[in-house]
Symmetry: C2
Subunit: 217 residues, 2 copies
Amino acid sequence: MDKKADISISVIKRLPRYYRFLLHLKENGIVRISSKELADKMGLTASQIRHDFNCFGGFGQQGYGYNVPELYGKIGEILGVSTERKTIVIGAGNLGKAVCNKISATNSGFKIIGIFDKNEAICGNMIKGIPVRSIDYIENFCIDNKPVCAVVCIPSNDMKELTDILIKLGINSFWNFSNYDIAMAHPEVFVENVHLTDSLMTLGYLTAENPKNSMED
Amino acid sequence: MDKKADISISVIKRLPRYYRFLLHLKENGIVRISSKELADKMGLTASQIRHDFNCFGGFGQQGYGYNVPELYGKIGEILGVSTERKTIVIGAGNLGKAVCNKISATNSGFKIIGIFDKNEAICGNMIKGIPVRSIDYIENFCIDNKPVCAVVCIPSNDMKELTDILIKLGINSFWNFSNYDIAMAHPEVFVENVHLTDSLMTLGYLTAENPKNSMED
DNA sequence: TAGATTGTTAATCGATTAACAATC
DNA sequence: TAGATTGTTAATCGATTAACAATC
């Protein structure tokens, strides 16, 4: 599987938000929208919206605008929401459970087929109908069931060894909540990071009494 | 409190990662590093690192490089890690609990003083030494305790009403896990969003068999 | 002093916005 | 046909990278 290089990451990062907005419009029975109207609703420019959509082909019609259900469907297709990527979740603590719920509640194209934890005490517990298994079984499970995506909800400590193994066993994408830099160690796989600490610290910067700022002027 | 406009958001978003790397170096007893070495470790360019640090003033020394503990301290200051922003968490489900743990485990400058949930059955439960309170008490709690930051771990449904109230009561920053667009409704407050669904769908795009891509060439 | 590496400015690159011809 | 709005190219803006003088 090759990496897609032709469409810029900034465009890609906006797709899920378009998808959410279009669902909302669709659910409210709106069938037609212009780039201008959508831009106003989303806080973007009409120009950017047209530019973005045109990366994937012409979804609109001159003089009319965009058909909401059709556009929603197209973007869903681009995001692969109708596929069922076999997914395993590693770590069944609070974060692991929250993430399992999120994946199950969302029509995102990922399907959890296994959950693993090193804490034997919680093995056997059910989350969204899937039993928590001991991390010791993860290799055999992957050989038998061939998952393609792993969701990492454990600390970074043992990540190097674990990712090396998982990638050998056929995992090609990671939703990574740990601080381990999978993408740097394995440029051949797809990684989407959620760095909670970094996010919180960014908010920290914004609300900090920055000494530099108050010294200037 | 004014918003800071002079330093670009791309630079700011890199600060927490610098901070993490510097802590790691510091813990390994490394006291000196050049922009080149740090760039190699982090997968950035030396030029960018010097450029970034210089937004905040000269932290290095020509011919020597950067002093790791000093630089770590400076960036910590910029991020405000030593302040104690009074913070409330709204929603004590799996996500709320995970986020409480994360905030407590991280030296980020945020201090949880209250946790709220609408589910009466879990009120009274302790999370990191703080009792879960009924959401009905949130107004009085804010009047009495004056928190400045709210962490939103509930669905988007009632967010408009809730954020309007909280902002009136003195909350000026949000760590937002819901899909409600606080920043658009309230441009005067600081918002850092964590859109889990969007993140997962971005990974979805990368691993989708994109029809457009296979049609071309 | 010579070597190393920063701080800072200029050049490049890429993303966003503006403009307008195409066309429904 | 006239009006509206897209698709697409060109202009602008901002972020990254390169270069080098300053200086430790």
